[in-house]
C-alpha cells in the first residue's frame, strides 16, 4: 500500500524535514506515526499525497509511483486516498450533510447517489443528529467526524490522518480512534500521525516513530515512550 525507500525532504533554505526514511505499510494495516512536533510527521504524510515532492528517494502509494507522478495525475492519486487534517476543514456556510455531499458532488456522483452515500457516511460517523447543523454548531469531535466522513466519500484505499485528535479531549479522542478502527476493519488502510501517547499505548498497533526527520523505530504493537 505504501513503500518509501530512502526518502529525504529538504526545504528551500536547507532545513531538513525528512532524512533517508524507508518503510513499508501493507494493505489493511492500522499504523500510528508518532514523534514530537517538528519531527516530520506532517511532512511525511504530505509526501504521500504529493503536497510535497521528495528531494531524494522513491515513494509508492496505492500502486502509484508518487515520486515521478506528473502534476496532472495528482488528483487521480488523491481520489484513492482519504485525507483528514488536524484543523477540521469544513465550509462554514454548509451543513454537515452538505459538507459531506460536497465531496461527492465534486467527484461527479448523481443526486440520488449523493443522497444515499451521504446518509450512509453520516450513519457511519454517527452524526445523524447533527446532519443539518452548521460547523459552528458542532463540537470539535463532531467536526472531525464530519471531516472523516468526507474523506471516505471516494471509498479510499488509504486514509491519512494528520493529528485528527490534536484538538480534542481524551474521551472524544477515543471516539475518533474507535471510528478509525471501525473504518480499518472495513478494509481501509489507516496511517495516523499523532503525538498523543495515551492513545498509542492503549491501542497496541504498529508504531512508526520519527525523530528529527529520521525513522527511529518501527514496532508492531508499539508504545509511545
Amino acid at each position: 500500500m505504501i513503500r518509501l525507500e530512502d526518502v529525504s525532504l529538504v526545504f528551500q533554505g536547507g532545513s531538513v524535514a525528512l532524512s533517508n526514511v524507508s518503510t513499508q505499510i501493507s494493505e489493511g494495516e492500522f499504523v500510528y506515526l508518532i514523534g514530537h512536533s517538528g519531527s516530520g510527521k506532517s511532512s511525511l504524510l504530505k509526501l504521500l499525497y504529493k503536497e510535497y515532492s521528495a528531494t531524494k528517494g522513491s515513494i509508492e502509494v496505492v500502486d502509484m509511483d508518487v515520486t515521478s507522478l506528473p502534476s496532472w495525475k495528482i488528483p487521480l492519486l488523491r481520489r484513492k486516498l482519504g485525507i483528514v487534517t488536524q484543523e477540521p476543514q469544513l465550509l462554514e456556510n454548509r451543513t454537515t450533510f452538505e459538507n459531506i455531499s460536497f465531496a461527492l458532488e465534486v467527484l461527479g456522483f448523481d443526486e440520488k447517489e449523493i443522497d444515499e452515500k451521504t446518509n450512509t457516511l453520516i450513519e457511519l460517523v454517527d452524526l445523524e443528529n447533527s446532519m443539518y447543523k452548521f460547523p459552528n454548531q458542532l463540537s470539535g469531535g463532531e467536526q472531525t467526524r464530519a471531516c472523516i466522513a468526507r474523506a471516505l466519500a471516494s471509498n479510499p484505499l488509504l486514509l491519512l490522518c494528520d493529528e485528527p485528535t490534536g484538538n480534542l479531549d481524551p474521551d472524544l479522542s477515543i471516539q475518533i480512534i474507535s471510528l478509525l478502527e471501525k473504518i480499518n476493519r472495513a478494509g481501509t488502510t489507516v496511517l495516523m500521525a499523532t503525538h498523543d501517547s495515551s492513545i498509542v499505548n492503549r491501542r497496541k498497533k504498529r508504531v512508526l516513530q520519527l525523530s528529527n526527520g529520521k525513522l527511529v523505530s518501527d514496532v508492531e504493537k508499539g508504545r509511545y515512550i
Binding site: W72, P75, T85, L91, V106, L107, S154
Partner: protein, 291 residues
C-alpha cells in the same frame, strides 16, 4: 454531465458573489464591444458609399462657352484616348439645367432667380482608377476650352482619411475600455478565488483536477464578457436598423451595409470575446489557484 452541472452551478454562484463588480465588468465589455462594432460598421458604410461614388463621376470639366463646340469635341476625343479614362460624357447646358432643378427642388426661390444660361456645359469623366484624377487635372491645366475642373477624389480621400482617424481613435478608446474590462475580470475572479480559498483547498484534497477547479472561473469570465458583447452587438444592430430610417439616411450617406458583413462582424466579435474571457480568467486565477 454531473460535473458539468456542478461547474455551471458554481459559475453562477461565483457571479452572484460580487454582483457590482460583475455588472461593472459587463458594462465595460459592452461599451468596448459597442465601439468596435459601430466603428467597424461605420467604416464599412463609408467605404460602401465612397466606392459607389467612385464608380460614378470622378472628374467634371466645366467648358468655356466662349470656345467653339468643335474645340469641346476635340477635348472630349483627347480625353477618351487617355488610357486612364473609362468613359467621357458630354453634359449640355439643358442637361445641366435639369440637374440643377432636381438638386435644388427644395429651394424654389433660388430656382426662380437663377439664370440658367450661366450653367456651363461640361465633360463628366469616369476613370478606370479614381486615384488618377490628379493626372487628368494636370493634363487639362492651361487648356483654353477648360473653364474649371472639379474632382470627387479629394473629397473622398478626405472623407476616408477622416473615417480612418475616427476608427483609429475609437479603436484606441475601445482598447482602453477593453483593458479596464480585463482588469475588472481579473479582480472579480481573484476576489472570488480568495473567498473560496477553503473550498478550493478541500477540492484539491478530495482529488478534483485543476481544470475542474478552474472551469467555473473560466466560464464566469467568458459569460460576463459574452453578455456584455451580446448586448453591445444587439444595440449595434438596432442602431444600424434605426439609422436606415432616420435623418442620417436622408443625408449624403446611404446606410449601405450587408447583413453578411454584420453577421461576420458579430461572429468575430463573439469569438474574440470568448478568447478574451478565457485569457483574462487564465491570468486572473493562475496565481490565486496555485497557492
Amino acid at each position: 454531465m454531473k460535473k458539468f452541472n456542478y461547474v455551471m452551478k458554481n459559475t453562477f454562484i461565483n457571479m452572484r458573489r460580487n454582483p457590482l463588480l460583475v455588472i461593472a465588468t459587463m458594462l465595460a465589455v459592452l461599451v468596448s464591444s459597442f465601439l468596435v462594432f459601430t466603428t467597424l460598421s461605420a467604416r464599412a458604410i463609408v467605404e460602401n458609399n465612397t466606392s459607389r461614388w467612385q464608380n460614378g463621376v470622378h472628374v467634371v470639366i466645366f467648358l468655356d462657352d466662349r470656345v467653339t463646340s468643335t474645340a469641346h469635341k476635340q477635348l472630349q476625343e483627347t480625353l477618351e484616348n487617355y488610357p486612364e479614362v473609362r468613359m467621357v460624357e458630354y453634359f449640355t447646358k439643358s442637361e445641366a439645367m435639369d440637374e440643377f432643378k432636381i438638386l435644388f427642388k427644395d429651394q424654389p426661390e433660388l430656382l426662380q432667380e437663377v439664370d440658367f444660361d450661366i450653367l456651363p456645359t461640361s465633360l463628366r469623366i469616369n476613370l478606370n482608377d479614381p486615384a488618377d484624377y490628379k493626372l487628368i487635372i494636370e493634363r487639362m491645366e492651361g487648356n483654353a476650352a477648360v473653364k474649371e475642373i472639379r474632382a470627387s477624389g479629394e473629397a473622398i480621400e478626405r472623407l476616408l482619411s477622416l473615417t480612418n482617424t475616427l476608427v483609429l481613435s475609437a479603436s484606441v478608446f475601445a482598447g482602453l475600455i477593453g483593458f479596464a474590462a480585463f482588469i475588472l475580470i481579473i479582480n472579480t475572479l481573484r476576489l472570488t478565488a480568495y473567498a473560496k480559498k477553503k473550498e478550493i483547498k478541500i477540492m484539491r484534497t478530495i482529488g478534483a483536477s485543476s481544470t475542474y477547479i478552474r472551469l467555473p472561473f473560466i466560464f464566469e469570465a467568458i459569460f460576463e464578457s459574452l453578455i456584455g458583447t451580446s448586448i453591445a452587438v444587439g444595440l449595434g444592430w438596432g442602431f444600424i436598423q434605426y439609422s436606415k430610417t432616420s435623418f442620417i439616411a436622408d443625408s449624403i450617406f446611404d446606410i449601405a451595409i450587408s447583413d453578411s458583413y454584420l453577421i461576420n462582424l458579430t461572429l468575430i466579435l463573439l469569438f474574440s470575446t470568448v478568447l478574451f474571457g478565457f485569457f483574462a480568467s487564465f491570468v486572473g486565477i493562475r496565481r490565486a489557484l496555485n497557492d
